[in-house]
């Protein structure tokens, strides 16, 4: 500021006029720049995929689509993908609800442990479960050998199980958040009027949760059909769109067919996204203003308690076992062959570079994503310009975009000058920023809706400029939303595979890809050890982050409360 002031000293009035202009129009300028960013890094890649799918040697062609629709193989692939998505969505949302209900309404003693178990999978790559299932049920797996079970894990069933376990936490998180903001008095009222717990869940809890359920379903569906680690490792010869896209692009450089498959992958997602937006229009039951109320543990009726406990314990136990065997496998020489304790997988330091790269990419993505998300939500809520709804919809569309497609899109869009980004670290980070933007934006919007605009007006009233108000009032208020976006982006970027696998380049190997390669390769020990190290790193990062926010006095609750 000081430097510019002296620079412009001679034409002070001119500078002042510029300042004035910025002060008055800042929000519009901000909105425009953010929109450009979204257009370049979110819309353009998708658009590029679409164009590519219609592009032949002589311009426009439908040949690729013809190829798709005339081959039973592709149709089978599409069918499997949709079936997988459907089954998974139902199970994940169902089980997620059981967990969320138990951790918000269930007995106090069970709340914490169940919550921890339901959240564990978030800190590991989703295809950890493919690894666990091989360790347990593979042809030389622990269970296969001990109990003589002869169950073929390679195939559709295996993929469904692995994907389900991987995406329960996502459904759980969304639903828990929703149930928490559901006033317990509503359910108590129904209880008081003679309804049994089962009836209450059916007639009160679930209908009120409908928007949350719908959203959780959308998210799980998109993630399931896009994350291909489990399908690639366990699928055997059963085709799915996402791993097929991967083979098309990475194995054969067939960008045309790869794009067609991507378009096929994105279609159902976009359809659901639009339907979801349409269904939720004006149908939001916020039953609690401001802070969520902790519900008193209620005496659950056995008709609800027994099935809920059975479901949560069953899945919780399975998740726990899956993690336990991976940790175990990290110390086994050659699983199933030479079951001896060794440290050599852990001491294999080659994967450390990949983990370090993952941290770097995730950190950059989280930082940039947190900032952009915060600014976007501010623009969306406080801005008064045409196209506000459009910006909102685009920034929230990240929920509905399969990672595979964005990965392919980035590869096509940013491969050649003037926008050449491939081969570097920034393309990895940017891709994560825009894919995971939605969470930060949504947190920001919620936060801003809770805060009266009068607070900002008061600041202007006292003579502060727009920038001062923004820095002094808005940013501190928005900080919790920034943190929410930061943490989500960081965690997801650390473990996500579907998009970045297309974009890694020599020297910028990422842990998620290394583990995937090792797992596909059959190197269980190395894959497990790398996973274990990565889990440790993620936990450590989270602790450090927590401590830092505490020490810097940027404590979420206090800042929010003081505002």
């Amino acid at each position: 500021m000081a430097a510019t002031a002296t620079l412009y000293h001679a034409q002070l009035t001119g500078w002042e006029r510029i300042k004035e202009f910025f002060n008055a129009k800042f929000i519009n300028i901000l909105a425009l720049s953010l929109f450009l960013l979204l257009a370049v890094f979110l819309l353009f890649p998708i658009f590029a995929v679409l164009v590519k799918s219609f592009q032949g040697p002589e311009g426009f062609t439908l040949a690729h689509y013809e190829n798709f629709f005339t081959h039973a193989y592709f149709f089978q692939s599409l069918y499997n993908t949709l079936l997988l998505g459907l089954i998974n969505t139902i199970i994940c949302v169902g089980v997620g609800f059981c967990f969320a209900y138990m951790t918000t309404r269930g007995p106090m003693a069970l709340r914490k442990p169940l919550k921890i178990v339901a959240m564990i999978p978030l800190i590991a790559p989703p295809y950890l479960f493919a690894l666990s299932l091989i360790i347990l049920f593979g042809r030389v797996g622990l269970i296969t050998k001990t109990f003589g079970v002869n169950w073929e894990i390679y195939g559709f069933d295996g993929v469904v199980i692995a994907q389900t376990l991987a995406f329960i936490p996502l459904a759980f998180l969304m639903l828990e958040n929703n149930i928490k903001s559901l006033n317990p008095n509503l359910e108590e009222s129904a209880y008081d009027m003679g309804a049994t717990e089962g009836t209450i869940i059916r007639t009160i809890t679930l209908p009120l949760l409908a928007p949350g359920l719908l959203k959780a379903a959308l998210l799980v569906f998109v993630m399931t059909i896009a994350e291909f680690g489990n399908a690639a490792v366990l699928g055997g010869r059963v085709p799915f769109l996402a791993p097929d896209t991967y083979t098309m692009i990475v194995g054969e450089a067939d960008f045309s067919m790869g794009s067609v498959l991507s378009v096929m992958l994105i279609m159902p997602c976009i359809m659901i996204f639009i339907a979801h937006n349409y269904l939720l229009k004006g149908k939001k039951f916020t039953t609690i203003e401001g802070k969520p109320i902790a519900s008193e543990p209620r005496k659950m009726s056995p008709f609800v308690k027994v099935p809920f406990i059975t479901v949560t314990f069953l899945f919780g136990f399975t998740i726990f076992i899956c993690f336990a065997v991976v940790i175990l496998a990290a110390f086994v020489n050659i699983l199933g062959v030479r079951n001896e304790f060794v440290m050599r997988h852990i001491m294999d330091f080659r994967s450390n570079m990949a983990i370090w790269n993952s941290i770097r990419v995730s950190f950059i993505a989280a930082l940039v994503g947190g900032i952009i998300g915060t600014l976007l939500s501010y623009v969306i809520v406080r801005g008064k310009f045409v196209g506000r709804n459009l910006i909102e919809m685009i920034s929230l569309s990240g929920f509905a975009l399969p990672g595979t497609v964005i990965g392919v899109g980035y590869l096509i869009a940013f491969a050649s000058p003037p926008m050449k980004l491939t081969g570097g670290i920034m393309i990895l980070a940017l891709n994560c920023v825009f894919r995971f933007l939605a969470v930060g934006v949504e947190a920001g919007i919620t936060k801003l809706h809770q805060i009266n605009i009068e607070i900002e007006e008061a600041s202007w009233d006292m003579g502060a400029t727009f920038f001062t108000t923004f820095r002094r009032i808005v940013l501190p208020i928005m900080f919790p939303a920034f943190i929410a976006g930061f943490i989500y982006t960081f965690m997801t970027a650390m473990v996500s595979l579907s998009a970045i696998v297309f974009l890694v380049s020599p020297g910028y190997e990422l842990a998620a890809v290394t583990i995937f390669d090792a797992a596909a390769y059959g190197k269980i020990g190395l894959a497990s050890a790398t996973t274990l190290k990565m889990i440790m790193v993620v936990i450590l990062c989270m602790i450090v982050l927590n401590l830092l926010t505490k020490f810097t006095n940027l404590d979420i609750e206090r800042k929010g409360g003081a505002a």
């Binding site: 390679y154 699928g235 054969e252 450089a253 062959v337 020297g507 596909a520 059959g522 020490f551 810097t552």
Partner: protein, 333 residues
């Protein structure tokens, strides 16, 4: 005060993370397609010999081929080190590779050195048949000595090999059978074999580990990791069936887009690859090395090779991929 201090720590940490590692003075980027272990062995050797660090990431031959094709002419690497013949011949033809005559490769035969200097071959590898000793013994089976034995229904769901779409090894396997049995006979054999194949892996080396761990009984796999896995104690048996095996080179070339300092670094690397020491390393892994060295896998035996035209193999790869897809990607039952 405490807040300011912590904030400073945060900022420093951010700069550290974002800035990343300090750029090493002598560093090149290479696409390397040998197995992850062998990639590292080569990188370590180059580092020791020349002080040059190679940035690389593991991908199989087919994947590198796809990547290079997709990136052309904006390559994200300085050179390829360990890629198959289809890509190498294509690179020479399209001038994606640039010529360089290395004096350190003088006196080595045509199989390993391109007379025009576009590529160098650091070792020939083959595919072999591997079996899980324990699993075979349990069923009372022995390792087949002829490829035809693999068509026996008793192996149904017990054989793994890589997909020729992504793996260079599998491409070599496919082409070897086409050369052995003729086009029609070859496809017929592959189609019959397909009925017994559990699934096609991404990488040509994967079957070695999968069979070694006992997931599957038999595998048709690249020979480059077999020695290493035997040493690690995997219960593997391997053999060269009587009809013989195919082979491919492991090629290195410098991209024609590499200029200036990076080019001279790449040339230094290329020189180092011609050294006896690298031949010793490669032969130690099980490769047929450019310079004579004791082969740790085959020993003194020279396996029977199927007569191959690598140039034709490279040329027909796209066509064969299409036939493959039309034959093996029909329906899923």
């Amino acid at each position: 005060m405490k807040a300011k201090l912590s904030l400073a720590v945060l900022v420093i940490f951010s700069i550290m993370v974002v800035g990343g590692s300090v750029y090493a003075a002598d560093e090149i980027t290479a696409y390397m397609g040998t197995s992850p272990d062998n990639n590292i062995a080569i990188v370590d050797y180059i580092k020791k010999k020349t002080g040059i660090h190679i940035k690389q990431t593991f991908q199989s031959f087919g994947e590198i081929e796809a990547k290079v094709k997709a990136e052309a002419p904006n390559f994200n690497a300085d050179m390829c080190l360990g890629v198959g013949s289809p890509l190498t011949f294509m690179a020479k033809k399209n001038k994606w590779a640039g010529p360089y005559k290395s004096s350190d490769w003088l006196g080595i035969g045509k199989v390993f050195v391109d007379p025009e200097g576009y590529w160098y071959n650091i070792g020939n590898f083959s595919f072999v048949l591997v079996g899980n000793k324990d699993a075979l013994a349990k069923k009372g089976y022995t390792l087949p000595t002829s490829w035809q034995e693999l068509l026996d229904p008793k192996w149904k769901g017990e054989i793994v090999m890589a997909s020729p779409l992504s793996s260079g090894t599998a491409n070599m396997i496919r082409f070897a059978f086409l050369a052995l049995y003729g086009d029609d006979g070859g496809w017929d054999f592959l189609q019959k074999l397909d009925k017994n194949i559990h699934h096609y892996t991404r990488s040509g080396n994967a079957p070695t580990d999968l069979v070694g761990r006992g997931e599957f009984m038999l595998g048709i796999t690249s020979d480059e990791n077999v020695k290493n896995r035997l040493d690690q104690g995997y219960p593997l048996v391997w053999g060269v069936p009587q009809e013989g095996i195919g082979y491919d080179g492991t090629f290195a070339f410098i991209f024609s887009t590499t200029k200036g300092k990076q080019l001279s670094l790449c040339q230094k690397v290329m020189d180092a690859l011609g050294d006896q020491e690298l031949s010793d390393i490669m032969a130690g892994i099980g490769y047929m090395s450019p310079r004579p060295a004791a082969n740790k896998l085959y020993g003194a035996m020279t396996p029977k090779y199927i007569d191959l035209d690598l140039g034709k193999a490279a040329e027909e790869r796209p066509k064969n991929n299409d036939i493959w897809k039309s034959k093996f990607r029909v329906t899923y039952k």
